[in-house]
Amino acid sequence: MKLIARFFRRPNQAVKPRFIFILFVVAMFGVLAICTREPRYHGRTLTSWLQQCWDTPLMETQRLAEAQNAVRAIGANKALPKLLKLVEAKDDPVSLWMIDTGEKFRISDEFGDRFLRWHSALDFQWLGERGFEALGTNAAPAADVLGKLFDEKFPDGEDERLHPLVIERCLESIGKPAEPVICQALTNSNPVIRQWAIDQLASVTDDVVVYIARIKPSLKDPSDTVRRTTVDAIGIQTSAPELAVPILVEALKDSSVSVNAANALANFGTNALVAFPILTNLVENGNDGTAGAALKTLIIIAPDRAFPIFTNCLAQAKPWIDATLQALTDVRPDKVLPIVLARLQSPDVAMRRKAFGLLRHYPETSQIDSAMQTAAADSDSGVALGAKGFLTEQYETNHPDKFLFPDEPSYNGKRLGEWLETRIEGGGDFTPAAKRAIHQMGTNAIPALLKRLTYQRPPYCFSPFQININAATAFIALGEQAEPALPELWMLMDNTNKEIALTAMIATCGTGSNAMPFLIKGLTNPFPDVRNEAANLLTEGIGDKFPEQRKRAIPFFVKLLNDSDDDVRLNATNQLKEIDPATAVKFGIK
């Protein structure tokens, strides 16, 4: 500081620093000009188009296509240098500190919801990747540079582990022209990259023989995971069984990959019969994982020959038998059914659950039906509920919804039930025609709507939500015409079925101020879902239109601040703050 002060006391000696400072200003503008210079299309920078590619959900095809077309229109020659810069981006401590501090002070984030949207190196890398995705094979000139990036050391940081993934995705987008680079990656020092290369090579190698020859050396890789990936990759080359099966049989001898090899052989069906003796041997002598996989493969490639081996293992109660049981159910369901039914009676809950899982894939017969009814009374709630659901679905199939309410009123040749299904496209409100029909039916529709609102599907009284809620929305559409139903709806709100209580309350919302006592009553309902919905409707729904009547709800809102349900408490806190800030402050809500 003393030096600077001395410098400013002697103005005439400041010539050199002045030049330095002029240089600084010029450099500043130079840097600004260079940094903001970017290829553009329709006045927007390449980065902003890439950002659009990144931000746009896949469903918004038009917006996504617009951004991708813009990147293509900029062209590979102009775009690639910038894209490579983005992919090569690395974090620096100052930027990381700024990102961290910005998030802490809530002025920046990575989504663009706050004032600033800082990008970490990984964000830039993914932006670059989007560019490669848009350019596709046109980005081929960058393949070698991307390959060289693979040779860099990737530190263990969470983000840095993703950097190879970005480069991989870029090369995948380039496709066939990246073939030499992917071949080179087979010998990369990073096992994750070697694994990727094994998989990716399949999509750029046209000939299966060449592909197997290329990846075969990886079966001797020092890394177990790489060897497993190689076995899996060879295992799906079912068009070349003469090449793949011997390799897989050989791989059965490697204890680290024998499970993968045994599983992979199942893909070759009878072409893998040559492996039957060695697989049988593995069932006898292999460890649990290998023995299970071997038996599963035996069942798939030769079910009848393998069945005695299976029954033998079942008798020995091998712990891995469940997986093979599933395989046998797929190929010989009739043979397995007695075993499944017997296991459904087992005292072991886990065994009963697995047996139930298998049983529900069987076609409907009286035997399955009776087993399901037994399961519906199971002491395990998971099995019992699953069986009840299965039987309810069956009932629904045998009794279609349209025949459930035969005495409903009609309008213009369509029954009430049909009008209730007539919605605006996208599952929204009733169509104007449906609304008109409901109004025309008026009070005549009330008995039928009440039946629908309280309908529970036999045999286990499950509430069919769609039928119940359709009736509630029809009541809302009726508006004040629904008033005669209010006494009945008042009683239904005390129903012990949560769905009925909830839909009865919602059904009153079309009746204007008449709905307010129902919503206030809802705040004291025994079901948390009803209390929550009542709070929501009083704040933002109908309650907003009748602020004077809503004041009567404030003491109930205050009580909900101590509700036993966390969600209700949280909701009541927010809603009270909204409808009566003064009371909210009084109760310590800021």
Partner: protein
């Protein structure tokens, strides 16, 4: 009739400015600690530090009365401008964007200091500061506050932890 249209337009802009769509949101009250005191502390201290530094370096040059108020008022322009630059450069690496933004602010602030010292009436026998000197002083002031910012952050954290 013209007046009527004028008011209609005003009404339209007012409706855009004060529309209450955000009030339709469904907020969930999360127990978040307020960051306003910390941000206020950091900004105020950084600006004060920068002002003190500039005052010190300009003490032998001609300057208007209440120069400290001029300098503080200056930040009503330069601070939003700095945020604007950051917003403009947010597609760059954060460190680079901040450096570039600070650089531009140094130039703007230096120019404004020069203009204040030159055109505001004052009765002093001291030499006038040149434009380049003002830029250099602004650079020193901004560097000072920039360096102090992380230190002040740590200081605030330390105080709030031990208070």
């Amino acid at each position: 009739m013209k007046t009527k249209n004028y008011f209609r337009r005003l009404g339209f802009f007012a409706a855009i400015l004060f529309c209450s769509f955000s009030a339709q949101a469904d907020p969930i009250a999360l127990p978040e600690k307020s960051v306003t005191p910390q941000i206020t502390f950091l900004i105020c201290f950084s600006i004060l530090l920068e002002t003190a530094c500039i005052l010190f370096l300009l003490r032998r040059f001609r300057k208007p009365r209440f120069f400290i108020l001029w300098l503080l008022g200056l930040h009503l322009i330069t601070y939003p401008a700095f945020l604007g630059f950051l917003w403009q450069f947010q597609d760059m690496r954060p460190a680079f964007a901040a450096a570039l933004g600070e650089g531009l602010i140094v130039i703007i602030e230096g120019t404004l200091i020069y203009l204040i010292c030159r055109y505001v009436q004052m009765k002093q026998n001291l030499p006038r500061a040149s434009l380049i000197r003002c830029w250099l002083i602004s650079l020193a002031g901004n560097a000072c506050s920039l360096i102090a910012f992380p230190l002040l952050t740590n200081l605030y954290d330390f105080i709030s932890r031990n208070a």
